[in-house]
């Protein structure tokens, strides 16, 4: 009986169903196609190749914008991975054998966080490859500097991995709190794909709302990464407000994860398994 064994067990569970590779494929297709399309148009725009009076984007802002698509758009994937780590166990009643083998429930949750961190790194690398690969190719093809030699770029990619890990943690907490798999998945999709993007867009028109909205997890995540389509002043005319410092964004995301995890442990994880 040890944490090592519980971590091994959680890893086996994670990779013995098809969820992990299906989500990875969807992540790659979603992020890579968007990165390729946006990469093509942004690069064309910055070189003035687009017909008509299309605004000319400054080429040096493009690589961070495109590369950060993996988090700006793709953060729903680590969030879903984390959520499913818990809700599938509840849905298929496998919490019973899990807790029979490891009655120390905090250890099971700890093992899920450790495995979740590994998954965050894994999906982070997959997501970054999907955003950087196609968009850098598009930039390079049209002669725009890819900035792949800059340490700033690589530091940003590193922060994206951190964001992925934190999103898995938030997902685990959300899964444990919501419990019902369908409600949790739909809730995650609605929040990440509609509510927060709309809130962050509308904020442009409301005085002072930016100070609140920048603490939303998606905005904090973008702040941690340091670049995002949503914060791009070139595109929205300064719409995203002024984001938090990257470290402050990271701390906000970490705090969200920590608070949700504590609530999940107290009010859900210790409940009767019937």
């Amino acid at each position: 009986m040890s944490l090592v064994g519980t971590v091994k067990s959680e890893t086996t569970k994670q990779f013995s169903t098809s969820t992990w590779w299906i989500l990875a494929i969807v992540l790659v297709v979603y992020v890579a196609s968007t990165a390729a399309a946006l990469g093509f148009f942004f690069a064309a725009s910055s070189t003035g190749a687009l017909p008509g009076d299309a605004p000319q984007l400054p080429g040096d802002t493009l690589p961070p914008l495109l590369y950060s698509l993996a988090t700006a758009m793709g953060y729903v994937f680590p969030l879903l991975i984390g959520t499913l780590m818990v809700t599938t166990e509840i849905r298929h009643q496998t919490l019973t054998p899990t807790f029979l083998a490891t009655p120390q429930r905090s250890r099971v949750l700890g093992a899920k966080l450790i495995v979740g961190a590994g998954l965050g790194v894994l999906y982070g690398i997959v997501g970054i490859a999907s955003s950087v690969g196609p968009s850098a190719a598009m930039l390079a093809l049209q002669g725009v500097e890819t900035q792949l030699g800059d340490t700033d770029t690589w530091a940003m990619l590193g922060r994206m991995i951190v964001a992925f890990v934190l999103w898995v943690f938030i997902g685990i907490a959300v899964g444990a709190l919501v419990r019902n798999q369908i409600v949790a998945v739909v809730g995650v999709l609605v929040f990440t794909q509609f509510i927060e993007p709309i809130a962050r867009t509308l904020v442009t028109f409301i005085e002072g709302a930016a100070d609140v909205v920048r603490f939303l997890p998606g905005a904090a995540s973008d702040a941690l990464v340091g670049a995002s389509l949503f914060n791009a002043e070139a595109l929205t005319g300064g719409g995203g407000g002024n984001p938090l410092e990257w470290w402050a964004g990271g701390l906000v995301l970490l705090a969200v994860a920590a608070v949700l995890l504590v609530l999940a442990y107290l009010f859900s994880w210790r409940r009767d398994v019937a």
Binding site: G5, S16, H92, Q93, T96, L100, A101, P103, A274
Partner: protein, 327 residues
């Protein structure tokens, strides 16, 4: 193999809001025996088992394995193997992967995965997704999970559900063999007939309370049995019985002697030289006794719930039925 441990329930109580699912349940389950845990659906069997296994938190009282609460066992799967319901599997995961994850979590050697799958006859299906399994196969997989750590205690909730007759016989033989090895085997059912031939000892629970604890033989009080006897020479038989000091009640089909052993009555008749046309033991069927225990019309002294045994004094209305064959 770890030794069988005694399971001890002491004042175990579970309330869900206003509903008391398990009410001051106190009992012991001994090693080396198959102990049946019987009760109608909704009587509290599953909740009791889940409290024993630390899955459901008791409102009051305790349940221990060899004196230790389940959650504090050093090696839970090596001490207690449990199969609770046949649905605790991810349908998209193979049986082998399911057991591997359990083995890793509890430091059970991985080779046990193949061993237990072979033991329950699932070797050929080990790599298939559980979603394609029949109910009987899931029961077997549940049993494999229970046996994974080679535990001294087995806790099985309705393990024969969904098994075909051959599977039921296989399960019975296995449970008996496990108990013979000295393990504690605690198995629930809502059908007496299902466990009747398997169990050495019986706990009956109804409406959350223990209503009987003992062996099957103790289920029916010997005084509840009667002997029905008849002879072509009924007058001679009556005289012989009266001479032997046995009082008989005249029925349409013979004479009914309360609380008598058919062998005694036969001996009385034989020594009087009377040929019998009927000699039969009558008593309540076990199933009837079980149903009466379950609905509260019968109260057994073994369930020492004296403080709350309402209506315990009223004699149970026992309808005689044929039990056993004519001797």
């Amino acid at each position: 193999m770890p030794d069988g441990q005694t399971l001890e329930f002491s004042g175990l109580t579970k309330r869900f809001g206003p509903l008391t699912a398990v009410d001051r349940f106190t009992a012991r389950v001994e090693p080396g025996l198959v102990t049946g845990f019987l009760g109608p659906n909704g009587a509290g069997k599953t909740t009791t088992m889940r409290m024993l296994l630390g899955l459901v938190r008791a409102t009051d009282g305790s349940a221990t394995v060899g004196g230790t609460p389940y959650a504090q066992l050093r090696h839970p799967l090596q001490s207690v193997g449990a199969a609770l319901e046949a649905s605790s599997f991810h349908p998209g995961r193979s049986a082998a992967a399911h057991l591997t994850a359990l083995a890793q979590a509890s430091d059970v050697p991985i080779r046990r995965v193949d061993e237990t799958l072979a033991l329950v006859g699932l070797s050929d299906a080990a790599g298939r997704k559980v979603g394609g399994y029949s109910l009987g196969m899931r029961q077997r997989l549940g049993l494999a999970a229970a046996l994974l750590g080679d535990p001294g205690v087995l806790v099985l909730d309705e393990p024969t559900n969904g098994l075909d007759p051959e599977g039921i016989r296989w399960m019975r033989d296995l449970l008996r063999a496990l108990a013979r090895e000295g393990r504690t085997v605690f198995v629930s059912s809502h059908l007496l007939s299902e466990v009747q031939q398997t169990v050495d000892s019986l706990l009956v629970i109804a409406r959350g309370r223990l209503v009987f604890q003992g062996t099957i033989d103790e289920l029916v009080d010997p005084t509840e049995y009667a002997t029905v006897v008849d002879a072509p020479d009924r007058a001679g038989l009556t005289a012989a019985l009266t001479a032997a000091g046995v009082s008989a009640e005249v029925l349409r089909a013979g004479l009914r002697v309360d609380a008598a052993d058919p062998a005694d009555i036969g001996r009385i008749a034989a020594s009087a030289g009377i040929a019998l046309s009927l000699l039969q033991r009558q008593g309540p069927s076990l199933e009837q006794v079980f149903l009466q225990l379950a609905d509260g019309t019968r109260v057994h002294a073994s369930a020492f719930g004296g403080e709350s045994a309402a209506g315990a004094e009223s004699a149970p209305p026992v309808e005689p039925t044929q039990e056993g064959d004519a001797r």
